[in-house]
């Protein structure tokens, strides 16, 4: 059982985060902490062990969080999202969630071609990887448009998932049975993990997931370069496909409400690729509609604007104030604040490249200046610009960041 102090601490942390999302000034700047591959390295285990041995990974997380506490820690990378299979099983809401994250043992069972795990397809010390490919040909747009869920189940799942190649075969049925058995075990472990983390003052915060329909097509079906070319070669089909995917994607994200999620994570991929003209014509309409519809249903969004988002900043203002969190990677958070203050909660600020390559003294100075500019007025969550610190990250640099946040993070 967690102590009353820890329960109180968990509430304080959650409240700090919530206040920032509501564009207010909390007692301290909410800090997500910095996780990633370094969590496993800090405990002296390989990424393979982290991904395949839940007990070891839990111990690694606990060790790291005891030394580096924060408000909403990210942890290490133990799996890869799998939107294809989730959408393919959309009509079975009790199952869709189980496909959300492919962990190591799950990938052994399913055999997903575009996912690689440490100690299996890649080196023991690499993190798990998503490798896209062209799984859908350009002449299949019509099929995708006609019935996305059916198309994904019948065509794409067998193409991408080795042990479900032949959907009606005994091999496929056995795969599904094994999958179910593993999920029962890992579900029980997740509950144990949540209880252990509560003892350290961390509530589990269920989150939902949404993808810009065009990103789904680009990452999972057509491949990025093909999609960018499709925009010029088959503009109408691409548009219709994005529209056809919107409803299934929304239904998937809103299923998160069943587990208490009130925030959807949306990582953007094509944003940096597209000119404002292409962005506004092909990408933004279905993304915006998704964000607005979720908001109507009580679910805010946390959009990860990957790469440079500078060219599309103004479009964010088309959303109602308080819509959610804008998490920035390369776009300067100071610049984002100038444009979005009082409208969007801004997240980011710590350049991971610096944490690797800089010194404790410089990092202290950097955090001090950053917080000095970003904290006033509230609506800011401090986080690294990327969720994954490499194994080799100097521990003294990590410590310097946490100490600086402690020193300069009080309102």
């Amino acid at each position: 059982m967690p102590s009353p102090e820890m329960l109180k601490l968990a509430e304080e942390r959650a409240a700090r985060y919530r206040a920032a999302i509501e564009l207010k000034e909390p007692d301290r700047v909410p800090f997500t902490g910095m996780g990633g591959d370094v969590v496993a390295a800090y405990a002296g285990i390989s990424s393979y062990e982290y991904c395949f041995d839940p007990e070891k990974s839990l111990q690694a997380i606990i060790k790291y969080l005891k030394d580096f506490p924060s408000d909403r820690p990210i942890g290490g990378m133990s799996g890869i999202g799998n939107a294809i299979t989730q959408l393919a099983f959309l009509d079975y809401p009790d199952l869709t969630g189980l496909f959300a994250m492919v962990d190591g043992p799950t990938n052994d069972i399913l055999g997903v071609d575009y996912i690689r795990f440490p100690g299996r397809e890649v080196d023991e010390y690499s993190s798990p990887q998503f490798i896209g490919a062209e799984y859908m040909k350009a002449d299949e747009y019509d099929e995708l448009i006609a019935d996305p869920v059916k198309f994904l189940f019948e065509k794409i799942v067998p193409r991408t998932t080795r042990n479900l190649r032949d959907l009606g075969s005994p091999a496929a049925l056995a795969t599904m049975a094994r999958f179910g058995m593993h999920k029962a075990r890992s579900g029980a472990f997740m509950q144990k993990q949540a209880a252990e983390l509560l003892k350290l003052g961390y509530k589990s915060e269920p989150a939902s997931f949404f993808l810009a329909p065009l990103d789904f097509i680009s990452d999972n079906l057509r491949d990025t370069v093909n999609l960018v070319k499709d925009l010029r070669r088959y503009p109408d089909k691409v548009k219709a496909a994005a529209e056809a995917l919107l409803e299934p994607m929304l239904k998937l994200a809103l299923l998160g409400k069943n587990i208490g999620a009130d925030m959807a994570f949306i990582p953007l991929h094509l944003n940096e690729y597209l000119s404002p003209k292409l962005y506004n014509e092909f990408y933004w309409p279905t993304l915006k509609e998704g964000i607005l519809r979720m908001l109507q249903e009580g679910m805010k969004s946390q959009v990860f604007f990957e790469g440079w988002h500078d060219a599309h900043m103004e479009s964010v203002l088309e959303l109602p104030a308080g819509w959610g969190v804008g998490y920035f990677e390369k776009t300067d958070v100071r610049k984002a604040k100038k444009i979005l203050k009082g409208h969007t909660c801004i997240m980011g600020g710590i350049d991971v490249g610096m944490v690797i390559a800089s010194t404790p003294a410089k990092l202290d100075e950097y955090i001090k200046e950053l917080l000095g500019e970003m904290m006033p007025g509230g609506g800011f969550i401090l986080s690294p610009n990327i969720g994954n610190l490499p194994r080799e990250t100097p521990i003294e640099n990590i410590a310097a960041v946490y100490e600086a946040v402690e020193k300069y993070g009080k309102y």
């Binding site: 960018v228 925009l231 940096e272 000119s275 991971v352 490249g353």
Partner: protein, 209 residues
Amino acid sequence: MRDELLKSFVDMDEQEAVRIARELIETDGGAAAVLDTCKEAMEEVGRLFEAGEYFLSELIAAGDMFNQIMEFTLPKLQGGEVASIGTMVLGTVLGDVHNIGKDIFKVMAEASGINVIDIGIDLPHEKFVEAIKEHKPELVGMSCLITLGVDSMKRTIEVIREAGLRDDIKIIIGGGRVSQAVMEHVGADAWADDAARGVRLSKELLGKE
């Protein structure tokens, strides 16, 4: 006709550009004129990209057009007409499988006259060493889109040094996750997170600008 090719290329009119190039190749300047004009067009596209008017979508389209046109142009060129200003071995470092940034930079570097040897993605350190020994380039380009690749670059450069090859080459790093700090950390000579700047710096390193 050169002006028309230049204009349709820069305006991203793929069909027109390819059509005019096919015509031009049969007339006055021949293949050499097509090559020169396309190089000029790529340079202009790069300029527009650096100025924030063009985006990656346009760089990809331009690279695609350039490759399409070169496919029927290069075989028609006489040996001496494709002058190279230097050789670069280029690859994405160990642990990183992103290839798009590297591929875009490659076309633009080639269009500027650099002979680029693309050795692939997710490259073990030794692959760079082997390629340097084989091709004796003046430049080595490393592409890195993930932070995990920073340490790979550092190790690769160490391995190149251990092989006694570091002083023979200049190293330029590129890709979304590089910066001045990263360059200093890994011990490279230049860095660029956009292809147009990367081409400019590569030419400088070759002493060509």
